[in-house]
């Protein structure tokens, strides 16, 4: 009898997702799919609202990465009000937004590595789930767990200081920012308590980099072989080819490094990127038009960004980048678990960028906002922690939003995540008579590498976070297991 195994949702990823693995009569994997529920209703919801509300409204989308949505929307609105396409703001406006963005990147990457990934690395993906979690890390590697907490806290405090508040921040406004960095906050971040200042964040970012490289040296075959497959890669880069997580031009390379999008203006993204709808998924599948649906899909996020950029413009991260590139002899890196390696290099880069910005006098003084001539269409892109984030708005003569299109990072990674699940399903489950916990977790490890945000935007008590169902070939439910949060 063929079987269908459902893992819903995937644990320790952001939000809610479901994996189905179809086995044939010989217990070989016939097909696997990652199902993600995407809330398209939001794009209809904003229609008719005044455009200046967008940077705040979009934070309703997601409690996981509201800062990324806030800034991407603000960049799109900048275009609408004639304030330029990301590089037309005042020095204060742009640098305050960058500080907010690097604070978000820093806290998100720290959270992902220390509290989602480290249990798999420290205990092994086949370890008892009762141990393989952050409580297990806290018990056996307390220093690591504390570092993760304090790094996440630092990033959150940077967001508070720049966005104004944790919920529905208002820092970024059309054409700029609404305040300077206060002297008290600057002093706190530069000279605060021992475990809460930027110097300590830099030190910890370097030490966790060493921790990972040491792990990689001892477990190279696991890291290199797990769900490795060729793909295209897409991200923003600065006009000179440097990594830039806040603004730049769109670049895509193939698995060999050949440019397939050559530093184009993202205001024209519709010329290059299209989204495919598939009947079995609520989430679309973006692809590069020039390569078509079959070959045009691409990865985004840390792995992609380190494949597309030519260099990193901060010294410590650049030194790590050079070692990282040597692993693949300068060619693009297509190893799924190298997302973690790349993410830690970005963590270090974010810490360096925050230090640089905190010492920049432009944050404390200068004009906050620029104004220009209004147009009716604006597109804002940035590199969110999980990858390239697209916000596209159009308005009418009454300043009301008439159209919105968002392509979020996780949507961009939809096909690669499916490819990874399929790869792992075949590697771990072909020919097996029994589906074990380590096999299930291997699927999740592949998805977690992308750090997907599968947010459902609400989280009220009573939701069931884990639902495992087993079906036969006719669709009859054979078994179902439900686990709930206390």
């Amino acid at each position: 009898m063929s079987q269908k195994i459902t893992i819903e949702p995937v644990t320790r990823v952001e939000g809610h997702g479901k994996v189905t693995i179809h086995l044939d009569d010989n217990n070989n994997v016939a097909e696997s799919r990652l199902h993600i529920v995407e809330f398209r209703g939001f794009e209809r919801f904003v229609q008719g609202r005044p455009y200046w509300e967008a940077p705040v409204l979009v934070q309703r989308l997601c409690g996981i990465c509201p800062v990324s949505h806030h800034l991407a929307a603000a960049k799109a609105i900048d275009v609408l009000v004639g304030a330029g396409t990301g590089d037309g703001l005042t020095p204060t406006g742009e640098k305050m937004r960058r500080l907010m963005h690097y604070g978000q990147m820093f806290q998100s990457h720290a959270l992902h590595f220390f509290h989602l990934v480290s249990p798999d690395l420290l205990f092994g993906i086949d370890a008892d789930p009762a141990i393989r979690n952050v409580i297990g890390v806290a018990l056996e590697h307390k220093d690591l767990a504390v570092q993760g907490v304090m790094m996440r806290k630092f990033g959150q405090e940077v967001i508070r200081a720049t966005a104004g508040k944790k919920i529905h921040g208002t820092g970024a406004i059309p054409g700029g920012i609404n305040k300077h960095l206060s002297p008290e906050d600057k002093d706190l971040f530069l000279n605060g308590p021992e475990l809460q200042n930027i110097a300590k964040m830099l030190e910890w970012s370097q030490s966790i980099m060493e921790f990972f490289k040491n792990y990689y040296e001892k477990n190279q075959s696991f890291i290199d072989d797990f769900a490795t497959f060729p793909s295209n890669h897409l991200s923003l880069v600065r006009k000179d080819g440097a990594m830039d997580l806040y603004h730049g031009v769109l670049r895509a390379v193939d698995s060999e490094g050949k440019k397939i999008l050559d530093d184009v203006d993202y205001q024209d993204y519709e010329q290059y990127i299209e989204e495919e709808v598939r009947s079995w998924s609520y989430m679309k599948f973006p692809y590069l038009k020039s390569l078509g649906k079959e070959k045009g899909w691409y990865r985004v996020g840390p792995l992609a960004r380190l494949n597309t950029c030519d260099f990193i413009p901060t010294p410590l991260a650049q030194a790590e980048y050079e070692q990282y590139k040597a692993v693949t002899h300068g060619k693009p890196n297509n190893h799924c678990l190298h997302y973690h390696y790349a993410r830690l290099i970005e963590l270090l880069h974010s810490a360096e960028m925050m230090e640089e910005l905190l010492n920049d006098p432009d944050l404390m003084e200068g004009e906050l906002v620029v104004k220009g001539e209004k147009v009716n269409k604006g597109i804002g892109l940035l590199e969110a922690p999980r990858g390239t984030l697209f916000h596209h708005y159009e308005i009418n003569e009454d300043d009301q939003l008439t159209q919105a299109n968002l392509i979020v990072s996780t949507t961009n990674n939809n096909e690669p995540m499916n490819q990874s699940v399929n790869y792992v399903a075949h590697s771990w489950m072909d020919g097996k008579q029994e589906i074990t916990e380590p096999m299930m977790n291997a699927v999740e490890v592949a998805i977690r590498a992308y750090d997907p945000c599968l947010s459902c935007a609400t989280h009220a008590l009573g939701k069931m976070p884990l639902d495992v169902s087993l079906y036969d070939a006719e669709g009859n439910l054979l078994d179902r297991k439900v686990d709930s949060i206390d």
Partner: protein, 161 residues
């Protein structure tokens, strides 16, 4: 005694913002009353850094919206001894308490206020039925904040779920 009221949820999703609204309203009331020992916090959801935030408190009351089958609200003790399940989207109060115990060796008394909600659309407004529940929950908490040592050490005061 240091007390923290921590509301969490997404106020852009109607009743999901009940916890935050409770914290906001109690903060206004607390300021008028001059209750200096009570502090307030809110966020979209609980996360790992909250383990550090609660480590310096004697008493913590988390407040969240609930889809559970309850009448209006309920109040339960959180001891960190329950089974822990974790996504970073929704770290549970029990998880935060456990993390606080393990990482910071602190054991604040922690409670969770569950407030029944009904509507979860992309709107700021809390539904009328949920507002009634919110009012009742606030009325329940006020005497506890005014005399926490008495109220919370009396088991009969807990409005069980």
């Amino acid at each position: 005694m240091q007390i923290l009221i921590y509301g969490y949820g997404n106020p852009g999703r109607q009743d999901d913002g009940l916890g935050i609204r409770l914290a906001e309203r109690l903060e206004e009331w607390s300021t008028l009353k001059g209750l200096e020992c009570v502090s307030f916090e809110n966020n979209y959801q609980l996360n790992i850094e909250d383990a550090e935030a609660i480590s310096n408190q004697d008493l913590v009351i988390f407040a969240d919206a609930s889809e559970e089958e309850i009448d209006d609200f309920c109040f339960s003790k959180v001891d960190g001894k329950g089974k822990l399940s974790f996504t970073t989207h929704a770290a549970s109060p029990g998880y935060i308490v456990k993390l606080c115990n393990e990482l910071f060796q602190k054991e604040p008394r922690v409670y969770l206020l569950h407030i029944k909600g009904y509507e979860w659309e992309f709107k700021e407004e809390i539904s009328p039925r949920a507002l009634v529940n919110l009012d009742r929950a606030i009325d329940y908490l006020k005497p506890i904040l005014e005399d926490p040592s008495f109220a919370l050490e009396t088991p009969g005061q807990l409005k069980a779920c």
